[in-house]
């Protein structure tokens, strides 16, 4: 059955219009689909990042609890036992004379020194102690303890009017300092270690430098550079930006910058300035 001319014209117009609409549909579908896909990918990245943050925070909490436990054990058990040993030596020394008494007293002094060092170590491990006296005081005590041990020359510089950064932030900054010091002692064979704190109104900067052997920057991406990556991850957790610079023979320089006015929310809803 043949179409009439007018019907054919109508068919051509309708058919062409439908095909053009099909084209519009295809293009629109592609645009909408791609947008949704991008949105899903973005959300997936956000969830992944949030999970990583939560994981890191949990690891840090476990680490702090462990350190706190060790700190308490050192303080409550080990130092107590050593005090008892010192006491017993004192009683023993009363019945001796001459060289033996001198030897006993020397040993008592050594034990007293050990008790003092253990107490200081216990304090540096305990987050409660750090929270109580603040970052600057803690660093000063730590610098004093390290310098007395003679293993490395540690200098501390504080500029500007100090203010509280929040317990969580100060704890993380102190742990970063401990990690950097550990690296300087274990790997860098450094003789000098410098830590500088710059307190400004809208910016806080922490710089840690050593004059050790340095390392290749590629180490940051290597499996063996996990301690260094830990520093960067911990810094990111409190909203700070950490930049690590080093080259073989040029020591290591760690710069942290933080805006104290910006509050960071942890995954469990506490803020960076809260007691946690």
């Amino acid at each position: 059955m043949l179409f009439k001319d007018e019907e054919l014209i109508l068919l051509i117009i309708t058919g062409t219009a439908i095909l053009m609409l099909l084209g519009v549909f295809i293009v629109s579908f592609l645009l909408v689909y791609q947008r949704k896909q991008n949105k899903n990918l973005f959300e997936k990245e956000q969830l992944k990042s949030s999970f990583q943050q939560e994981l890191l925070k949990t690891r840090m909490e476990i680490q702090e609890e462990t350190l706190n436990y060790v700190s308490r054990e050192l303080h409550d058990n080990v130092t107590q036992v050593l005090s008892f040993v010192k006491l017993n030596l004192g009683v023993l020394g009363k019945n001796l004379d001459g060289n033996e008494k001198i030897k006993i007293n020397d040993n008592r002094e050594l034990i007293a020194q050990s008790i003092s060092d253990l107490r200081n170590l216990s304090k540096s491990l305990s987050f409660e102690h750090i929270s109580a006296i603040g970052l600057v005081k803690t660093l000063e005590m730590e610098a004093d303890r390290i310098n007395r041990s003679g293993i490395i020359n540690l200098s501390l510089l504080v500029e500007g009017d100090t203010y509280a950064l929040g317990e969580q932030r100060e704890l993380v900054l102190f742990r970063i300092f401990q990690e950097a010091l550990n690296n300087a002692l274990k790997h860098a064979q450094a003789a000098n270690f410098k830590i500088s704190l710059y307190y400004k109104e809208q910016m806080f900067n922490l710089t840690i430098e050593d004059d050790g052997v340095g390392f290749q920057p590629e180490l940051l991406n290597d499996k063996s550079g996990s301690g260094l990556r830990n520093i960067i991850n911990r810094a990111a957790l409190i909203g700070a930006k950490a930049v690590i610079n080093s080259a073989p023979g040029n020591g290591c320089n760690i710069k942290l910058s933080l805006n104290p006015l910006v509050q960071e929310t942890y995954a469990n809803g506490t803020y960076s300035n809260s007691p946690g």
Binding site: D5, L8, G15
Partner: protein, 218 residues
């Protein structure tokens, strides 16, 4: 003036291509000589310089073969898979051979080879749909499809091909019947199709230019 609106858009696309030529990707650079040819060809057609045996159907037939080759090769160049490009080339060869067979043995050189043209446009439609399908499945996470030049070029080719399918299916019969309304359609549909194709091609060139410029500045 409105009769030749398609020519103005062709010229616009050619001008934009010429202006942005240095920053275009390799697969877009083929459009400059092609658009130059199209502008010259359409100008000659408007001036009726290409009439032979009282018709310009012969040059339309040849021009449609050149078009299908250029657009198909362009769509093939957007995909990195060698096997896929090989298949497109095979399909293109088949269509071109059929177009010549249609021209020489079926409809003739001096009649519009509408059968071949319908197949050509169907091939273009399929190629664009396959390209979009691959784009959805293999798209890069950071790709902003609205600013992606091949997306716009392919959209232009899609609308161009879809607009002409029904038109060419009915062309021979309606010309035979000398229907006045079809004469009007014969002006409107090509105008709209060319308008869409060349404006989207121009958009693609502009986005390509902007992208290349921002990469250089970075």
């Amino acid at each position: 003036m409105l009769d030749y609106i398609y020519f103005y858009f062709e010229f616009l696309a050619f001008s934009v291509c010429l202006y942005t030529y240095k920053k275009l990707d390799r697969n877009f650079k083929v459009f400059l000589p092609f658009l130059a040819f199209v502008v010259v060809y359409e100008f000659a057609n408007i001036k009726n310089w290409l009439l032979w045996h009282h018709t310009n159907a012969w040059c339309n037939n040849l021009e449609s073969i050149i078009e299908i080759i250029i657009y198909s090769r362009f769509l093939a160049s957007l995909d990195k898979r060698k096997e896929y490009r090989k298949k497109i080339n095979i399909a293109l060869c088949i269509i071109v051979v059929f177009s010549f067979i249609d021209m020489l043995f079926i409809q003739g050189l001096f009649m519009m080879n509408t059968i071949a043209m319908v197949f050509q446009y169907c091939l273009l439609t399929i190629l664009v749909c396959l390209y979009y399908f691959n784009l959805i499945n293999n798209v890069d996470e950071s790709l902003d499809i609205i600013r992606y030049p091949p997306f716009w070029a392919a959209a232009g080719i899609l609308f161009y091909a879809l607009a002409f399918i029904f038109y060419h299916i009915a062309f021979s019969y309606m010309v035979y019947k000398q229907n006045y309304h079809f004469y009007i359609l014969a002006h409107v549909i090509p105008n709209i199709a060319c308008l869409i194709l060349y404006s989207l091609l121009s958009t693609a060139f502009i986005y390509q230019y902007k992208q290349a410029k921002s990469v250089n500045n970075a």
